[in-house]
Symmetry: C2
Amino acid sequence: MNFELHKEWFENLRGLILNDLKSIEKKSFTETKWNHSQKGGGIMTKIKGDIIEKGGVNISTVGGEFSENMQNRIPGANKDPKYQATGISIVIHPKSPLIPSMHFNTRYIKTSRSWFGGGMDVTPSNDYENESKFFHSELKKLCDKHDESYYKKYKEWCDKYFFLPHRNEPRGIGGIFFDYLDSGKRSDDFKFVKDVGLFFKKYLIDIILKYKDMPWSDNHVKNQLIKRGRYVEFNLLHDRGTKFGLETGGNIDAILMSMPPLAMWK
Amino acid sequence: MNFELHKEWFENLRGLILNDLKSIEKKSFTETKWNHSQKGGGIMTKIKGDIIEKGGVNISTVGGEFSENMQNRIPGANKDPKYQATGISIVIHPKSPLIPSMHFNTRYIKTSRSWFGGGMDVTPSNDYENESKFFHSELKKLCDKHDESYYKKYKEWCDKYFFLPHRNEPRGIGGIFFDYLDSGKRSDDFKFVKDVGLFFKKYLIDIILKYKDMPWSDNHVKNQLIKRGRYVEFNLLHDRGTKFGLETGGNIDAILMSMPPLAMWK
């Protein structure tokens, strides 16, 4: 019952965000629906446009049984390997080097236990200091509305996760990242997850509209290409989702949807 | 004694190849010498030019003791963890999308045993079929001069190594790849390794000179950028040297010298 409700929310959020994106970016949305009789199904929307140089909006609902290897790593899966998962995941690489790459996902997983996970983070390639302060203060407000311990905890989790150890540098300016969220009050957790989604929806559009017509320089573009190289390094070397997808032989287009359109190494 | 001799050869080969490259590419060779009192030293030459968009020529001689973890994986290191290693490694990403990226290295390792390793491979992004046939037939001739079993064995090793399992596609057109070469006649092995180096020296320059002034299209460039994306995927996801370097905290510039200047994901 809960599962259907959460799935429906992710689908609604997908529709809302795609509507917004279509109001800005008129062309080049490619939708691929997939259905697998055993695994489940989803919709992958690829964007290649003038404002959004490359982006992806993915939604999927899958289920099955975790392999023995996974059963000990996933909460509640040691009792019963069956699981269901539903979620939405978005990566946007805007054309303008003044607009950061933005990443968001939320998901609901059900084994013999159940929980939410997700987060959002932002990767600017040029000066973003004031915007960064604003982003984090707004994120804090959002979190505080639900639980005053959330922001600190989830910001730190995000900083720790989106970090390139081989360069000793963060991927971007962070954001929030949470997993295994099960406070005991499912409806409260669901409200938080909904708010995180609506926050991202608003932030994404606000930032694009604010900067999309601002002129940029070759140097801005160079910084963007270098930063995108770091993005590639992170995703291929460290990202759990990418690694998991590649190891389990998932759809390569969906797994690498997060890759930037162009990246540079000096 | 042998070690010094082999080290000297790699240094000589470096000089010969750099001379050739400097006759083609007039500018932008940056040389970085490094010396570490315990580990050893080397010279890293970075090329950023008009014909060679990005390239690196690395030479290094290092020594020390293998960690316990490595001792069981490296021949002869379980008896005594001490090792010495000397070698040369080159990656060239030409500007013209009609010229393939080219990669070469040879090395000599000494533990309680000793052996040569190395190889070369070529990654075109546009039609290269006839060149590929020629390259392989010349490689076969080179190998046959030393041992008629080499070409088949080392070509297969190369094909197996430079392969992207997540895309089920080879990185390029292959070449040869060998390791633990210790036939019992060191001087013969050394002759083979020298010939491999001289073959690469000639091939590199011949191909650059043949194609550098030939006009190319936007479509050629697009194919090149996509292929370079695959190059990045291989190096970050699969290359043993890159992984080893990143895990052991080596110099990030040297480790990622092999990255292409620009790469694209559709």
